[in-house]
């Protein structure tokens, strides 16, 4: 049991990897597993490789159920239930690269995995959506199946890796690695402009995350300066003492990568193209999972690591999020391509997600994490349904289709269901997260548990709530144009080759039903999920965001800079007094009083002379400079 607890997350990553390799090998064997003439194969004889990939992803799903069960039963050394306490469980911590002999400064890159209430559900979402997407690809993917399914499994492994990583470098590696499979999935199996879409997607997000990487390196270097170890360990990095100026620039660096991924207005323009051109499963995974990497990054790094900058810049991020909500909705409304409509709806939805997060309170954060899951379910399902329409009609234009409810009653049922989930109908999943996000935004300024006021307030909530009306406007317009009215189909359609029939097949219904059930259950009884998200949001995020603002944290000791070990005790719950608390208090409290505008003017007043944070090099005694930066 203990072995399993330690290794299960690794298994979750390795199993799809093994699957990818197995699919690649099986497909390459030269045996007629997938004949090249297989393009017109109908379902029963068809995708053996697909079945293989499906089996592997389903096995991952089963393991994930086990992981969730283990997570909920895991206890800390003191016998406390970790899920309820908001801690990390299923931890595996192996030293990977340790360079302790050649330098005074150790290099500490660890293979460190773990999940808390925030990430376990995202892992579960990944393991839930991926097999369904793979299964949904059976009829659509008719060529180069070997590569396709291998890449899908590769993607699953890397996304799970992102959510489990407890080491910043490991996170970054997984984070970047997700680009590769998706780049090929879009590029090879996408629509007419697939390579343009794939290239734009890759370069745009990659360019942003290069800046993030610079931030990662700077953090590790700061860790070396402050604690003596050149480390990427997230827990250690949380405890770094960063000046407001450093936080500001680090915030921008991290935001560069994450905001593009989310996508936060105005960094969203890669998304409509990539979503529209990607094959169905690509869109599903992109919308359902990959966008969450951005919000998850904000949640894991920007908020707890850079609390002063977060509090200061939250209104700005919230304004961008609100612009995204309304702008995305309005632009979605006027699309004549229904896949692009759903793509733009993601811009709007993710705006809610960001808004709730930057309300910086329990309701907002819980709502935001729940929103990630719910958006993954409902928008993922919408892309699935739209893909099913596309496979039959080979068009995504509104004006070519109409009245499909008559032809495809099952499809109509599911489309309407997921549209309702997406427009936050109470009783379905979307409502709870949207309501919590708005509630969090409204009550952001309500002080709680001795915390100071959060950054947002009712005006933000009121404007964002306009999105509630607008989401209904564009989604119901889509329903009306696609499903209602007289039946209108292009000639020679619906295309029923490949084992399809005009209405959804049994396979397709079986794919959509679990998602619909999940939406319903999360809407009616989300208690187990919220029960674990909330303490984690409290312990893993909010406690850090407000650590510098409460007396308890002021009293926390901050280890002397050259003590040789990472400062450990400034975190939540620390009680002892310390020497360096002045620095922390100055940076957080002073910063929040100074305001965003004065942030720029205050550079000169800061102790260090330069413009760019890295000019801090000048202050550092030579002995403190880690060797790794010179390599």
């Amino acid at each position: 049991m203990l072995f399993l607890q330690e290794w299960i997350l690794t298994l979750l990553i390795v199993l799809p990897l093994v699957g990818a390799v197995a699919v690649a090998i099986a497909g390459a064997g030269g045996r007629p597993l997938v004949p090249r003439s297989g393009e017109n194969h109908d379902e029963p004889r068809g995708p053996r490789l697909g079945q293989m990939a499906l089996a592997f992803s389903l096995a991952t799903g089963v393991l994930t159920i086990l992981a969730v069960a283990l997570f909920f039963t895991a206890t800390s050394e003191t016998g406390q239930n970790l899920a309820r306490a908001g801690g990390f469980a299923l931890v595996q911590d192996l030293t990977w690269v340790a360079d302790s002999e050649t330098a005074r400064r150790q290099i500490d890159f660890r293979y460190h995995l773990g999940v808390d209430g925030l990430s376990i559900w995202l892992v579960a979402l990944t393991a839930f959506i991926t097999p369904l997407s793979i299964w949904a690809s059976f009829s659509g993917i008719r060529h180069r199946q070997r590569e396709y399914y291998a890449l899908m499994l590769l993607l699953e492994a890397s996304v799970i890796g992102v959510f489990c990583a407890r080491d910043l470098l490991l996170f970054y590696i997984f984070f970047e690695f997700t680009l590769i499979p998706l780049f090929f999935i879009i590029g090879i199996w996408g629509g007419p402009q697939k390579w343009a879409a794939a290239g734009k997607f890759f370069l745009y997000t990659f360019a942003g995350s290069m800046l993030t990487f610079a931030g990662v390196l700077y953090l590790a270097w700061q860790a070396a300066r402050q604690g003596g170890v050149f480390t990427f360990d997230i827990d250690t990095l949380y405890r770094l003492q960063l000046t407001e100026r450093e936080q500001f620039w680090l915030f921008l660096a991290f935001t560069a990568g994450f905001a593009i991924k989310v996508p936060l207005f105005p960094f969203h323009t890669w998304l409509p193209l990539a979503h529209t051109e990607a094959p169905t499963a690509g869109s599903v995974l992109l919308a359902g999972l990959l966008l969450k990497l951005g919000t998850y990054g904000f949640l894991r790094f920007n908020l707890p690591m850079l609390p002063a900058a977060t509090q200061e810049l939250a209104p700005l991020v919230a304004v961008l999020a609100i612009i995204g909500i309304i702008y995305g909705a309005l632009v979605a409304w006027v699309q004549d391509d229904f896949k692009r409509l759903v793509a733009y709806s993601s811009v709007s939805h993710l705006g809610f997600c960001m808004l709730g997060m930057f309300a910086l309170n329990q309701a907002g954060l819980t709502g935001s994490v729940l929103y990630m899951i719910n958006h993954g379910l409902s928008t993922g399902a919408l892309f699935l349904v739209i893909g099913m329409i596309y496979e039959r009609y080979h068009t995504r234009q509104f004006d070519k289709l109409g009245g499909l409810a008559r032809r495809m009653p099952w499809m109509a049922f599911f489309l309407v269901f997921f549209v309702l989930s997406s427009i936050a109908l109470p009783g379905l999943n979307g409502f709870i997260s949207e309501f919590l996000v708005l509630l969090g935004t409204f009550t952001s300024r309500n002080p709680l548990d001795g915390w100071p006021a959060g950054p947002l307030g009712a005006p933000y909530g009121v404007i964002a709530a306009v999105g509630i009306i607008l989401s209904a406007v564009y989604m119901l317009a889509m329903v009306q144009r696609l499903l209602f009215g007289q039946l209108k189909e292009p000639e020679h359609t619906p295309d029923t080759s490949g084992g399809l029939r005009p209405d959804l097949t049994r396979r397709e219904i079986t794919i959509l039903t679990p998602i619909a059930l999940a939406c319903l259950i999360l809407g009616v009884y989300p208690k187990p999920v919220i029960d674990s998200i909330q303490p984690a949001a409290q312990q893993q995020v909010l406690a850090w965001v407000y650590a510098g603002d409460t007396d308890a944290a002021f009293a926390g000791a901050i280890a002397p800079r050259d003590a040789g070990a990472p400062a450990r005790s400034a975190g939540p719950g620390a009680k002892e007094g310390g020497e360096d608390k002045d620095r922390l208090s100055r940076s957080t409290v002073g910063f929040s009083q100074s305001g965003f505008a004065t942030c720029f003017s205050r550079w000169g007043e800061d102790q260090s002379p330069g413009f760019f944070p890295f000019s801090d090099f000048s202050r550092i005694p030579d002995s403190a400079v880690p060797e790794v930066t010179h390599r």
Partner: protein, 706 residues
């Protein structure tokens, strides 16, 4: 206080969860098995489910009525907890809980009773004969539409047995879902569950208006209904959020400020402007759901749905949810006098406004729709002038006679193969005798004819309005005349005069499944008023005393309103306001006058009506075109928004994406600039190498010199 379900304290009220669950179960059964197994018998699970819910509702009514004073059972400030729903903070859960009191019980009985009758009625209504003659008629569905769409109620005089029309299962599943949603709305013990019911009934309304989804008009009407309601719900949702924001500091530990009992007990701690804000935002939701100015526009279009749906959802139950909510939130509204004044004003203006439109319409169902808007206006007027019990009383009686009228119109439509335009038929009294008789009873009740239900309840509201402000009372009286006039204009056009039957139809009286509900509702339309009056010996109408058992039963719930009224005018005056029969005589006379005018214009002297139209062409056109509100909305809101969204999309592609492109162009341009250097010609490499070396030498020389 909070009581968990299943406890003995709750007693008979433990039956409450059954009320929404049984119809839901029926709906689920139909939804799962309808198309494969149940088919034409799909009405049974839903009818049985609703019947069960009705029985449970009566049990609750009995339990509330017999509750001992001083015990928590049946009191408005008792909350019955089912389970935890979701949580904004550690240690605080929004529960799924119920509030069961007199108001709840009355609403449940009304909703389940009308639903049951409508479900029974629908069993025949949603059937068509296969031998229908698909022929286009002006105003009715065109021939092409009929071919594509089996919603044409053919006559049943042929030898063929009527068969369930396409979507029969879907219809009953939606009806069951609706009853579930409406009962949840009514039972809800907190604002979130109320919001759930609120949106869910809106969804059912959407699905049922769009039942004949192949008709573009129906699809558009469904979307319009949902969106206009969403605009109201936007305000409603904000009201809930502000309620939480401002009340959470006052809520007891572990209790959600959104529970009714907590919210109503703590609301007085807020400033008046806060209470007014909350009240007005909540009222926004009511304006949308109950189709008041300016958000009434969806209700007339909602008549695209099947007639029983119009009767159930768009007349008797769902649209009254707004009134229910405002009465339920009395504690909030009475502390915001400005908001109450706005409620009264909106109600009065809407009542008059909709009644004027109804005068110049020809579609029977649309006349009834405007009439519903107008009557809902009365109810809001009643609440606004602190006569909340009268408003609920009117809600109760209105449910009977308006459902009856809609079902009657449905019966006409069924007989005439979908034709409902009054200009195309007339004199149907002989062909449809039962429909005719029951319809007239409903019309009399609506018109406020003495001794019928509508008379008592409407009179109370007008009375209270006069006591409040003469202008409001006068508007109420004018509307009463108009109501009597347009109702009987419709009755006379449809049933009186020479028999006119559209070509190609063979009208026939409906079957028993449809007539029995009509008759039962007619009994209700006559008798429902008597639960709200006292009888005593006296002269003409003198034996009627308003404020009977109904009001006494409701008293604990409307206590805030009554207390405010007493505080304003003094206890004596408040009591006296209910007496004095002068107004009762006046409104009775006005009702009869309205009916007489309609009789003269539409039976005796039909040419006078035509002359009147021609004498005031502008006025007639404005009324007939419903004050051009739809056109105005389209030109002022929808089109500009659409156009600016198109512009935004252009901005997105050109400006926002253009910036990205510009950034990405930087490396591209740099590459373009230095690319010529890599031209592959050895000579140029040699030249640049030599030049570079020369530069280096120069620099070294310069540096070494200094």
């Amino acid at each position: 206080m909070m009581v968990p379900f299943g406890s003995t304290e709750a007693g008979m009220l433990n039956a409450a969860p059954l009320v929404p669950l049984l119809p839901l179960l029926g709906a689920a059964l139909v939804g799962l098995l309808g198309t494969r197994m149940l088919k034409g018998a799909s009405h049974w699970p839903v009818i049985i489910g609703i019947a069960g819910a009705l029985v449970a509702s009566f049990l609750i009514l009995g339990a509330v009525a017999s509750a001992q004073p001083g015990t928590p059972a049946g009191q408005p400030d008792t909350t019955y907890r089912l389970f935890s729903w979701f949580s904004p903070l550690e240690g605080l859960w929004f529960d799924v809980n119920f509030c069961i009191d007199a108001l709840t019980a009355i609403m449940l009985v009304t909703v389940c009773g009308i639903s049951l009758l409508v479900a029974i009625y629908s069993r025949d209504y949603m059937r068509v004969t296969e031998t229908e003659t698909p022929e286009g008629h002006e105003g009715g569905p065109s021939a092409a539409e009929r071919l594509a769409d089996p919603h044409v109620h053919g006559h049943q005089s042929g030898h063929h047995q009527p068969v369930p029309e396409r979507g029969y299962e879907r219809y009953f599943a939606f009806i069951g879902l609706f009853v579930f949603s409406m009962c949840t709305l009514v039972l809800a013990g907190n604002f979130l569950l109320l919001y759930l019911g609120w949106e869910a009934v809106g969804l059912c309304s959407y699905l049922l208006i769009g039942f004949y989804y192949q008709r573009p008009a129906a699809a558009a009407a469904a979307k319009k209904a949902f969106l206009v309601n969403r605009i109201g719900d936007f305000g409603f949702g904000l009201g809930i959020l502000f309620l939480y924001l401002w009340l959470s500091p006052w809520a007891p530990d572990g209790r959600s400020p959104l529970d009714y009992d907590v919210a109503f007990a703590t609301i007085h701690r807020l400033d008046t402007w806060q209470i007014t804000t909350i009240a007005l935002l909540l009222f926004c939701g009511a304006v949308g759901k109950s189709a008041q100015l300016p958000l009434y526009v969806w209700l007339p279009d909602a008549m695209e749905g099947p007639s029983p749906v119009s009767a159930l959802i768009h007349a008797a139950t769902m649209v009254t949810a707004g009134v229910y909510m405002v009465v339920r939130c009395g504690e909030i509204f009475v502390q915001a006098p400005v908001a109450l004044a706005i409620v009264a004003a909106v109600g009065a203006v809407t009542a008059l406004f909709a009644a004027t439109i109804a005068v110049a319409q020809y579609d029977m169902k649309r006349i009834l729709a405007y009439s519903t808007i107008s009557q809902l206006g009365y109810m809001f007027l009643g609440v606004g002038v602190l006569a909340a019990d009268s408003a609920i009383f009117h809600l109760f009686t209105h449910a009977f006679f308006k459902a009856l009228l809609f079902l009657g119109a449905g019966s006409v439509m069924h007989a005439l193969a979908g034709i409902i335009d009054l200009r195309q038929f007339g004199g149907l009294r002989r062909v449809l005798p039962v429909t005719y008789a029951t319809f007239v009873i409903g019309a009399l009740a609506l018109a406020g004819f003495p001794l019928l239900s509508g008379f008592f309840s409407k009179d109370e509201i007008i009375h209270a309005a006069f006591a409040h402000h003469p202008v409001l009372g006068t508007i109420g009286l004018i509307t009463a005349v108009l109501t009597a006039f347009y109702t009987f204009r419709m009755v006379f056009m449809a049933f009186a005069g020479p028999e006119r039957i559209p070509a190609g139809t063979h009208p026939h009286e409906s079957g028993r499944w449809m007539l029995v509900p009509l008759v039962l509702l007619a009994v209700g339309a006559v008798g429902a008023g008597y639960v709200g009056v006292h009888m005593k010996a006296g002269g003409f109408l003198g034996f009627i005393e308003p404020h009977g058992p109904f009001h006494r039963f409701l008293a604990p719930v409307v206590e805030p309103y009554a207390a405010t009224l007493h505080a304003r005018v003094g206890h004596e005056a408040a009591g006296a306001a209910h007496e004095g029969h002068v107004l009762m005589y006046i409104s009775a006379l006005l009702a009869i006058a309205g009916i007489l005018v309609a009789y003269v214009l539409y039976v005796r002297r039909r040419d006078w009506a035509k002359q009147a139209r021609e004498a005031f062409p502008v006025a007639y056109q404005v009324l007939h075109n419903k004050y051009y509100v739809d056109e105005l909305n389209d030109a002022a809101i929808v089109r500009p928004l659409w156009d600016s969204s198109r512009v935004l999309f252009g901005v997105d592609r050109i400006v926002v994406d253009g910036l990205v492109w510009a950034v990405s162009a930087v490396p591209r341009v740099m590459g373009f600039l230095v690319r010529p250097l890599q031209n592959g010609a050895l000579q140029s490499y040699g030249v640049s190498m030599t030049a570079g070396m020369a530069v280096i030498v120069l620099i070294v020389w310069l540096v070494s010199r200094t």
